[in-house]
Subunit: 186 residues, 2 copies
């Protein structure tokens, strides 16, 4: 190895810093190269192209979110676990809005794995609600929709009124919990 400075992971690190500071649209190979102190084409020694870099960023962020989600669910169950999961999810998205936006991508093979793990955690968090098979899948889809929808809208600044967002989110959690009870009866 000549200069051990750069590596795929290091490139993703720089990419994440750009995303955080300047938003997902500012993620460009030349911007990364500039931060790395390297000519743009050199990056191709570490990443196939911009699309792959985006996918790697997405994977990294989904990984962080997975970690947060699993920590939140750990040692809790039932409503408490669900609330912790939703709160953790939302707070991550709120803390890193650009990162969260950069995570959203058309599904690519790279993201399939970590995506499945994330779904697995949600499934586990729902275990206490006694949902089996397909019912559990439908429930996870609704949970994802609720969490993701709220996170996206909040990150995009789409909630423009003055009302407290914590309160809105607490209502969302109550909504999901109430809905899961109806799911069991169906």
């Amino acid at each position: 190895m000549a200069r051990a400075a750069l590596s795929p992971d290091a490139v993703v690190d720089l990419a994440l810093r750009i995303v955080d500071e300047e938003g997902p649209d500012a993620l460009t190979l030349s911007a990364v190269a500039a931060r790395a102190g390297v000519a743009t084409p050199s990056l191709y020694k570490h990443v196939r192209n911009l699309a792959e870099l985006r996918a790697l960023v997405s994977v990294r962020v989904m990984g962080e979110l997975t970690e947060i989600a699993s920590e939140a669910a750990l040692g809790r169950s039932g409503d408490e676990a669900l609330r912790a999961l939703m709160d953790g999810w939302r707070s991550y998205a709120a803390r890193h809005p650009h990162r969260y936006s950069a995570m959203i991508q058309a599904p690519r093979p790279e993201t399939a794995d970590v995506g499945d793990r994330l779904v697995g955690i949600m499934l586990a968090a729902l275990r206490a609600y006694g949902l089996e098979g397909s019912a559990a899948i439908h429930a996870v889809r609704c949970l994802r929709a609720a969490m993701h929808g709220f996170a996206v809208l909040e990150a995009a600044g789409a909630f423009r009124l003055a009302e407290d967002l914590d309160e809105s989110h607490a209502l969302l959690a109550r909504m999901v919990i109430a809905g899961l009870r109806t799911a069991r009866e169906h």
Copy 2:
């Protein structure tokens, strides 16, 4: 007027066709110009720049969605109105996934108006649930989060399992309805 063929609206029409057929990323000024049979810079006589064109597309799509939402809610009330609203929303997004994706943007002044109308319709659809003031705002936020989250995920192809999406969405509707009852009691 020289050639009356082009106008801001006509440009948006072409833009929408591109979005539908090739996805939001394919929306580029040169692509629009090619379809219009015109040189790229000519478009600047009708639209300020690409960002504005995107905003206009977004406004147009939000307008269509507003129409669908208001038709769905018209003449119904309570759970029925809510279900119709959610179904209409989802079916629009599913019918035009690229269009729906193109609608999503950081809030710009152009979209504020039609966005407010859309929120107004949701507020009206919730009237039967007896929510006042802030409680209604929180409820609308949750409704938006649920509908938008589901639509985005479905449009992006993020629901990859075989389970019937109609059923998942029906659960989401029951979830929202159940949650709105708890909202009143809070």
